[in-house]
């Protein structure tokens, strides 16, 4: 994968600014649990997760060669942290998830494409609870598939992507958490303009 990205970067420079495409994205993110906590013997275990959240982002697409695009993008999701045990569930605090990814997209115009990307995800929230002491940038991998269609000078599309990243904020580490990760499912509508393909 790093070889792909390195090759993409080099070829992208040769592609020229005229071929670049800017894409904006909006959609929803569904997240798996951020943590499971057994609490103590005899009590009700807790699961915390980010609620289904709206997502907005943008990406620059640079043609590398026929059917292959370099993609550099960022997105933000506005969510809430939700805790649930066997007794009740409640929103705990606001949660903003920011991601920045670099990847490649492969496909023919007007047909479904595949993309893969790597980068970082960071959670921003009030300095308390699970996020007391903050949360660092987590490396992330994302893979997806999408489809675009020309509409005049614009290109409309839809994309479904899956993302995987570790999650180990200091507060959970201090509580003795074993390492684990989070899966996120992103469903997005895309709108872009520019580019040759």
């Amino acid at each position: 994968m790093p070889l792909c990205l390195a090759a993409a970067a080099g070829l992208g420079a040769a592609g020229g600014a005229a071929a670049q495409r800017l894409e904006v994205r909006a959609g929803m993110v569904l997240s798996s649990a951020l943590a499971h906590d057994a609490i103590a013997q005899g009590s009700s275990p807790v699961t915390v997760r980010a609620r289904l959240a709206p997502l907005a982002g943008a990406a620059a697409l640079v043609p590398l060669r026929e059917r292959l695009l370099l993609e550099v993008g960022a997105a933000v999701a506005l969510s809430r942290l939700r805790a649930q045990d066997g007794l009740a569930s409640r929103d705990v605090q606001s949660l903003t998830v920011v991601q920045a990814l670099v990847g490649v997209r492969y496909g023919q115009a007007g047909r479904p494409y595949l993309r893969a990307a790597a980068g970082g995800v960071r959670y921003f929230s009030a300095d308390r609870g699970v996020f007391a002491g903050g949360a660092g940038v987590n490396p992330a991998l994302e893979a997806g598939a999408g489809w675009t269609r020309r509409a005049g000078a614009w290109r409309l599309g839809a994309e479904l992507a899956g993302q995987l990243h570790p999650f180990d904020p200091p507060a959970l580490e201090a509580a003795g958490a074993e390492k684990g990760g989070v899966r996120r499912l992103l469903l997005m509508a895309t709108l872009s303009r520019g580019g040759r393909t």
Binding site: L3, E66, A88, Y106, L114, G162
Partner: protein
């Protein structure tokens, strides 16, 4: 690497993501929790504030130790709040007793509430007083001297401790544990909730106990 090879890598990554058995971080059960239930004539009851709620604590005005007690409440609240990983509760210090659920006072200061229906006994170092309602499901309200208010617990701190900053922090942090609903003392003398608190911050057993309390169904809700 050819475009076709890159596409294959992308496909493999997609498959890997779909199949990844990566689960969320798991915090194992904490050990060392001690009994927290309140013993009443009708048996044991679990008393705690509604999960996710805010408990407002005010210091009674007047007396030489008021500023000490205010600092102790602020520090104690921060210590207990720091261990509520999932928003189980939040202790907040308020300045006006009319806004408070709990009032903290030195033993040499007249209480701003009428406690005649349920008077505190003499404090040791500190004492948390509350009274079960007739139906045994909630706590009665101590009316403010001028009427009104919603104070359901009164914390009294022995005056000689209230005037000593470090002692006040220990006693108030311990009493805030009772305010949260830990109705018993820890059998471990090193814990904040031991009968004579040696520290001003909750230890692992105190943390396990308060979290177990807030993830156990309540039978009495203040």
């Amino acid at each position: 690497m050819s475009a076709r090879a890159c596409a294959r890598v992308a496909g493999l990554l997609a498959c890997a993501l779909a199949l990844a058995g990566c689960d969320a971080p798991t915090v194992p059960a904490r050990t060392g929790a001690y009994p927290f239930a309140l013993q009443t004539v009708a048996g044991e009851v679990v008393m705690r504030w509604p999960a996710g709620g805010t408990v407002r604590v005010a210091v009674a005005p007047g007396g030489a130790a008021a500023s000490n007690l205010q600092a102790a409440v602020t520090a104690g609240a921060a210590q207990w709040n720091a261990v509520a990983l999932y928003g189980e509760y939040e202790l907040v210090r308020v300045s006006d007793v009319a806004d408070a659920d709990v009032v903290v006072a030195g033993s040499d200061v007249p209480l701003p509430v009428d406690v005649s229906a349920c008077p505190p006994s003499s404090p040791g170092f500190g004492l948390t007083t509350f009274c079960l309602s007739p139906d045994g499901r909630s706590l009665t309200t101590f009316p403010l001297a001028g009427g009104g208010g919603h104070i359901r617990m009164v914390v009294t701190v022995l005056a000689s401790f209230a005037t000593d900053g470090a002692a006040a922090r220990r006693v108030v942090a311990h009493e805030l544990g009772h305010v949260l609903g830990i109705a018993r003392h820890s059998p471990n003398p090193a814990d904040l909730m031991a009968a004579a608190a040696p520290t001003d911050r909750p230890g692992p057993a105190d943390v396990a106990t308060v979290l177990a309390l807030y993830h156990t169904p309540a039978t009495v809700v203040p």
